[in-house]
Subunit: 287 residues, 2 copies
């Protein structure tokens, strides 16, 4: 049970978490803090949070669970503000898509209270953003990765784990470095491919005709190009090394594919497509 939950950044993720915890009665009181007054007001109107606070000090006062749900690029600033006012009984976690940079910022900002910080990342969301898109079942069946450090307090880890499990998520732990390398391939790379594909088409002489001829394949492949640009700029900058490595590998592989098409190497193409189809079909079976 959470007595007072403070969500910093009430968007799709922060809002959905608050809704889910309220729906099952796992939280007594929810306060919200953020930059956009309009968004905070909407969060109260939608019943996502009980109260808005206009200062971080007031928002986190007496909170036993603090969730940082701002874009990755805003984490360091919030952590710097949080450091001096964080009480000993609060657990802090975040929902950032990159973990190495957040862990570094938290270690620096929180000092001895860094033990109370549990880095986390729910693998859920959509191309939509903002509290209006939040929904209490977003995390039902979703995977949540926690990346505790050696200093992380075991009781704090257990509380964050329990919070996610209570609302139907499956919690796993990884090192921050493993998380960032794996997510670079499973999430960050696909987003880059989708953005790049839409941007290429937009700048094409035939862009009108191409978009008119865009059937389901194009639509599905590029759905995530509708994602929040600020969030993804931040992720690119925060996970630069792992993402660049994944993108370089992809460009190399795509080069081999181009070469096979140019040479008319039917067997190579058939092998590659069949191997990919087999793996992709396996993913369907899993969920």
């Amino acid at each position: 049970m959470i007595n007072k939950l403070c969500i910093i950044g009430i968007g799709l993720i922060g809002g959905s978490l608050a809704r889910a915890l309220r729906d099952i009665g796992h939280v007594r009181e929810v306060t919200g803090y953020g930059r956009s007054v309009g968004n905070l007001r909407q969060a109260v109107e939608l019943g996502v949070i009980d109260r808005v606070e206009v200062s971080l000090v007031d928002a986190v006062r007496n909170a036993d669970m603090i969730v940082l749900a701002v874009p990755v690029g805003g984490m360091a600033e919030i952590l710097d503000q949080l450091g001096p006012v964080l009480s000993t009984q609060a657990v802090v976690t975040d929902v950032g898509s990159v973990k190495g940079s957040v862990v570094t910022a938290a270690r620096q900002a929180l000092g001895t209270r860094f033990t109370q910080f549990v880095p986390g990342h729910p693998l859920a969301g959509s191309e939509q953003s903002g509290v209006a898109a939040s929904t209490p079942d977003l995390f039902q069946g979703a995977r949540v990765i926690l990346t505790p450090e050696p200093e992380t307090d075991a009781a704090a880890l257990a509380r964050v784990q329990e919070m996610w499990q209570t609302i139907g998520a499956q919690v796993a732990t990884l090192s921050a470095a493993d998380h960032d390398r794996i997510l670079a391939a499973s999430s960050h790379l696909p987003h880059m491919l989708a953005y790049c594909l839409v941007d290429m088409v937009v700048r094409h002489d035939d862009h009108r005709a191409i978009l008119e001829c865009a059937a389901n394949g194009f639509r599905d492949t590029t759905r995530i190009a509708g994602s929040d640009p600020v969030m993804w700029r931040d992720i690119c900058l925060a996970n630069r090394e792992a993402l660049v490595a994944a993108l370089r590998q992809y460009r190399t592989d795509l080069g081999a594919l181009v070469e096979a098409i140019e040479k008319g190497d039917g067997p190579w193409l058939l092998d590659t497509f069949a191997r990919a189809k087999h793996a992709r079909d396996g993913l369907n079976k899993k969920n």
Copy 2:
């Protein structure tokens, strides 16, 4: 009204077309011809076609509409067989994803009867294949591109146009070259990107963890990697030039993106992502 429809290749597209035309009573009799006996038997059992013929001559005898729905790589062979037995009263059309290569094969195989051939491509389908996946509403609201040549008979064109419109499709015409260049970007390129992404992940040391962490973004982006490998090998080989050009452009654009991430160029990333999001959001509004 079609008196006798002959579908050559009863897969997802051929089967769905037959179902749609039967459902609205626009066809009296449907015969099927193809390579897989099991598939043809299933098509009869499912009520998709009335009768299977084991020779092409029998299948097309007295047919007033013949639809070639085999993979693009199999078109030339079928057209070569069809040439000597094609009667003057039949209209022939196809559903191939590439038009230039099919037009060339048809012109060569059909001789003076080439005027009866109306090259076509319904922009519908899914990653599924086979007659079991066929459905009568596949073309409802879908776009169908016809690419008539100067020799194409106007009455034949009108009959094919009517066939598609009757089952709810929107028909447009393009030159074969325009079709192939536009589809290279709107359809063939996204399929290559999806196949390449899954194949890269499969060969990755962390492939198990990456697939476990595959959330909706990865799933949507790669759904079409479950498409039929033979069909896509054929498309690659048949639309080689336009597809290679699109892939080369994409690799160049992706290179610029990698460079921006490496340099930490936040404004460039934000601009690019915002431009892509704007275009992608526009696509949502359109349908």
